[in-house]
Symmetry: C2
Subunit: 582 residues, 2 copies
Amino acid sequence: MHRTHTCGELTIADLGTQVVLSGWVQKSRDLGGMTFIDVRDRYGITQLVFNADDNAEMRAKARELGREFVIKVSGTVIERTNKNPKIATGDIEIKVSELEILNAAKLPPFMIEDETDGGDELRMKYRYLDLRRNPVRNNLVLRHKMAQEIRKYLDAQNFLEVETPVLIKSTPEGARDFVVPSRMNPGEFYALPQSPQTFKQLLMVSGFDRYFQIVKCFRDEDLRADRQPEFTQIDCEMAFIEQEDILNLFEGLVRHMFKNVKNLDIQDFPRMSYDDAMRLYGSDKPDTRFGMQFVEATDFVKGKSFPVFDNAGLVVGINAKGCASYTRKQIDELTDFVKRPQIGATGLIYMRHNEDGTLKSSVDKFFNEEELQKWAAAFATEPGDLVLILAGENPDKVRKQLNELRLEMGNRLGLRDKNKFAPLWVLDFPLLEWDEETERYHAMHHPFTSPKPDDISKLDTDPAAVRANAYDLVINGTEIGGGSIRIHDRELQSLMFKHLGFSPEEAQKQFGFLMEAFEYGAPPHGGIAFGFDRLVSIFAGLDTIRDVIAFPKNNSGRDVMIDSPSTIDDKQKVELHIKTTV
Amino acid sequence: MHRTHTCGELTIADLGTQVVLSGWVQKSRDLGGMTFIDVRDRYGITQLVFNADDNAEMRAKARELGREFVIKVSGTVIERTNKNPKIATGDIEIKVSELEILNAAKLPPFMIEDETDGGDELRMKYRYLDLRRNPVRNNLVLRHKMAQEIRKYLDAQNFLEVETPVLIKSTPEGARDFVVPSRMNPGEFYALPQSPQTFKQLLMVSGFDRYFQIVKCFRDEDLRADRQPEFTQIDCEMAFIEQEDILNLFEGLVRHMFKNVKNLDIQDFPRMSYDDAMRLYGSDKPDTRFGMQFVEATDFVKGKSFPVFDNAGLVVGINAKGCASYTRKQIDELTDFVKRPQIGATGLIYMRHNEDGTLKSSVDKFFNEEELQKWAAAFATEPGDLVLILAGENPDKVRKQLNELRLEMGNRLGLRDKNKFAPLWVLDFPLLEWDEETERYHAMHHPFTSPKPDDISKLDTDPAAVRANAYDLVINGTEIGGGSIRIHDRELQSLMFKHLGFSPEEAQKQFGFLMEAFEYGAPPHGGIAFGFDRLVSIFAGLDTIRDVIAFPKNNSGRDVMIDSPSTIDDKQKVELHIKTTV
């Protein structure tokens, strides 16, 4: 037998018990004729004590144990002299009577401690060692727990988890597909799903009524810190529902998870239209942990001979509460921030509402006290506040720039607390967005999203004004879920494909099966998909998804641990009817 | 609002309630001035009644509703005159006050009934309609329930579900891989996992202690009824355990599922060595719902001048209880059965133990009454029994042939009851098996399976005699799970690769990461993987896995519904650095 207990469970109640423990050597130290060893497993750490007076030979063996050796010990639970209140087993130690080395260990390439000295690449290469560290393993324990709670909630709500295929069909819409050459169908390819979208809609046509799946999806995109070629979605679909039903049911899911995983009560799920979100935050995923909403100043700042404002399409700013005392250097930093190429503002205008009540701006040449009073009123400043203003020709761009500045100010002011959670539904997204590159409209969510019935008539005349029955759930400025009420009518679906630039033949070839399915009694339906990796990272208080994934890939899509992707045999290529061109 | 209730929940307790229901028209019939319509959803069927006296126009509209139309009705729950005790809602009907057609439906290409007139190909093409049928949907409801119960049990046992990558590395060992060309790494490929084997072992090295995953796996093999290119495993691994721990814990899982899903108590999980299974049943996955064990007759039938026996390497038979009355025609059928090319026996010898106590064989010329008495004793026959005997040069082949005959007799005698469940652990598998084609030994389970410590010394001298710490769980003659205690020592793993014909360089290239991991403190570990599709099909009493999979592929690996695989754009191929050769 390898153990009677784990390394995390023995307490003062077990005094005198004969036990067997197995685990890894965390650290060891000598004290007089004694050696103390911390043995670790997933469940905790227990202190072992070897006394030379009892057994000099075994104590000598214990002194030879290196970090990360795998050992098995038998012994008696005794009370510790120096208790450690920080760990669950801190009141006891094991007086060891037998010691067996189950496996030796080379010195790890980095410290297996909460704070490690290993760099990113090294930790990725030895991911199996990185996973031994508490913070990393805890993320995956959290992930497991969240998945269990999701299933528990949705099962109780009559959702059925149905596995949809991984080997599906490549479609030109959306991101790039990963493809899989077929051996049995020469010259043809499967694609890996970017989402199970069409299958879940077909399940609604099948009368499955409520479907979900926690499922791997795939996108062959260029990677960033928060993107992986394979990622996990909580994919859901419901029939005979309206948008309101979906919002309520999935608010319930998120509430259930916060309650059961983090013991937090989330009260409000405010709702905001896409238009308001863009107007007030310059983003369709505003971080509402803090206010600092945009104030538009265009109307009252024009005509004072300040060319930057006079030539602007939009002048818009925020009130940074309590920042009037910012030094020149701090203001310069903010100016540099907004002028960075990836943000692209031309400059930053500010106004201090000083503690003594005076108003002082960077454009005093153009705006006198009386004019600045208008600013103070519009931005609702109080003594001590700092107004930050951007201006530019293109209102959308200015708003995006100010969004970045607002988030930066939130960071500087400590308003983006990782232990605070602010959910927000963003509603009424545009159905279509213009793509400069391809010079046509694309579906903002996907081609299966239904337009608002009142807006259908605008599809021909003013496509950009058509709103969709689409919604995103945002938490702390991160989009964690999005969905829509779908089209369930063949004619409307055909019309959508037409507006997306599909020829009738293309539409038929790619999605004929779905449109045909709509002719056999398709119910009204809609759904939502959550990015599970992101949701876990938010629960874990992390900025990237990489550390909530057991074996992530790097920014070149490589798994540096197993060294994948890799070349394959020519024989394999012949069987698959392909050649490589490099 | 689309509904206040589902179509499966209204009862006599709801009389007088105003309700809204939505669903599909199952069927309709006229009776006098009334039209009755059965409306169906996932939860059940409710009868609607339209009375011309109340509303002639609406009744006329109801008469026009075709099968599978999607409708929404408002109305009052009233008591039925002709109650239908077969359905949960059979005591009531809805007196409809409003009728809305949510979507029309074309006539389905086959009947949406429990017994359908649709052929396999048609049902696959319109899978979304086939999924509307109760028996098919019930399989997927069962599958959902089983997955929930698996997770519940394993979570309670401290297992963590960890998602392992889908884009991994191709390895030459085992079945053919599906591969995925990498855009970002020209000329290189990912492979889809045949199982997460190495990752789950690395998780044990990481100290995850208990891992599981319900996970899609992929094999590019030629397909049969019970094989799909993508299939689902319940994949499990544990550290600091011995074989006994695994057998006990997963007996518990299977017991839990039978109890909680089918309300069945499974008492015994007998155990049998591989050698005994082969000797007594000619199969490493015997169907133990019935006895009919093999009896070896070689010793006592030789030397009676019957060349078939005298030249045989093995003479072996079964006692078909109560079959002495089989007609000549029935015996001829059995002879034809064993002589079929896929079975390949040269003939069938039999002995009747007649009801009057006399013994009568097909080889009376060579065996007198006294000799046959020996047969009767060996086969423990009673009056009424029929002994069936096969003989041949190669004992393994004869056993396989007799296994087929035994199963056939089990079928004929009705001994393979789909509502009876007989689990069996088969233990002590050989580590290696000789492959005629490649003329080398292959790992019977996989290269990571540990040999029995006592047998390691035989690896050089008698490789075929080395037994493995490997086990299969068989239910009703189907292997539903298999696993092993793994190697966790670098030296032993290297030795295994050597015996499997890997050069040290190949072993390093393919599995270097795993062997290196073993040097950093790998604990003893082992695991098991269950074929989830098969397990569900056994619970559902089905012979193939196809109907427990929502969207299966046909025998050419095609999804005929979405028409996949398919050709892709040349642009995609260029981006992926590949060309097709057809």
